[in-house]
Amino acid sequence: MPNKSLAGKVAVAGVGTTRYGRLPEYDPYDLGIWALKEALADCGLKIADIDGVILNRIPDYQRFCELAGLNPSYTTITPGHGRFSGICIQTAVALIATGMAKTVALVYGNNGRSAGDQYGGATDIYGSGGPGLWFPYGMTSPGAFHALMAKRHMEQYGTTSDQLGQVAMAFRRHAALNPQAVMRDPFTLADYHASRFVCEPLHLLDYCLINDGGVAMILTNAKRAKNLAKPPVYIRGFGQTAKFTGSTFPPDDYWAAPMKKVARSAYGMAGAKPADMDALMIYDNFTPTVMFCLEGFGFCKTGESGPFVENGRLQLGGEFPTNTSGGHLSESYMQGWALNVEAVRQVRGECGARQVKDANLVQYMTAAPVITSMIYGKEAK
């Protein structure tokens, strides 16, 4: 568990996002630099102020830093897997807390739409077991991996397609209020059911988008953050646990055990509980992972996420407004990064028509072989 004394010691000073969608004239370096410029402008810092750089999904750190004019004291680069957004942010906290860096830029660039990325078929490298072994049986794609989990959850607990549809519908309604979102047309449950199956029981509308875009975040110590252009958004708590053993196959517990560990860490550090969260940002690669997080982090009991998401509970105005930007399903597939930025913007009160009233604590969480969570707060403690 992270040291409780770290709570509120590091803050998000600046955030930046590009347009999302199809941006064929921008490569991942361009998308990263565009986002970084936005984040610098957001907090009023300059490139020379950045002394730590953490890159994600950008092909090469040397080329990126050469193009961006960066000569930091600490540099690292991470693979383009969504679980790494939380990992990177936590690494930045550690660098700042230990004094290894004072001001860290986290930069993400994704040209997956223009590059024609496919998350299934011959180029599929999802998971750890060498998926080529399963191609002869037609097994491929993260979508199928989550379809297996969804099917089992349905048989085990009675979760329904209607309930998965409620999650997708809620996020689309939020996207309709977000000018930056790629998919903004609300749909009905009938539209959801009419959307084709990709891998049954999951419909097309259970899947995240594939698009281009970039995101950047600038973190610094709380003291310095107070003197910058925007009010600091404090990192109040976080946690991380991996479940790599056996991870070629879906976990029997939908990652509940590691999520409980992460929840204890994040809530313990923040001195808060699930009911204290004013908004949730849940890594929605597919709708079932939203359900698994709600159970694993203790928002509802094991197996009860289906009924829990009914009656607009995840919608703006509901008990736990979730993915107020539209998330990966409807805003943009920025692999967790844009959800962390949305958390920051909610806490700052910058979200316009989709603003949650008095968003003092906002939690990010992800369900995957690496589970992470971040709790952002308006106050340092």
Binding site: P136, Y137, G138, M139, A147, R196, C199, E200
Partner: protein, 135 residues
């Protein structure tokens, strides 16, 4: 039939070669750690449970249970276009090892989580026999 088989084939050489050789001979072979007795697949030099390096391949029961299944409506390879919708099953063998595979002779609507299955050896080409399952 090998000259018309267009679907992806597994690499049958390398560490997993005994698995594929076993399948051709109608046996479900798994690598077993000689230090901690855990079975494992895919093959690896070191045992993921105890990091032991000593192992041997053993013929196993071929019996297992369907943990879950999903139905592909999208053909990720043109060679699967004629099969959609088709189902992939996640099977847990008695020995604890899991596999992704398909069921044979089971209509889609009859697939059930928890159903007991046994290995069925499907010679899709002269060189490759896939391990599928039957009730």
């Amino acid at each position: 039939m090998s000259d018309v088989y267009a679907k992806p084939l597994p690499p049958i050489d390398g560490l997993n070669a005994p698995f594929w050789a076993g399948a051709r001979a109608g046996k479900l072979m798994l690598q077993r750690c000689l230090d901690c007795a855990q079975y494992r697949f895919p093959a690896s030099r070191y045992c993921p449970s105890c990091l032991g390096e000593r192992s041997e391949w053993q013929a196993t029961s071929g019996q297992g249970m369907v943990v879950s299944y999903c139905g592909f409506h999208k053909a990720y390879w043109p060679s699967f276009a004629g099969d959609v919708p088709y189902d992939v099953v996640q099977v847990r063998l008695k020995e604890g090892v899991q596999l992704f595979s398909n069921l044979v002779d089971v209509p889609r609507e009859r697939i059930k989580i928890g159903m007991k299955v046994r290995a069925h050896f499907d010679a899709v080409t002269d060189a490759v026999t896939l391990v599928r399952f039957k009730p």
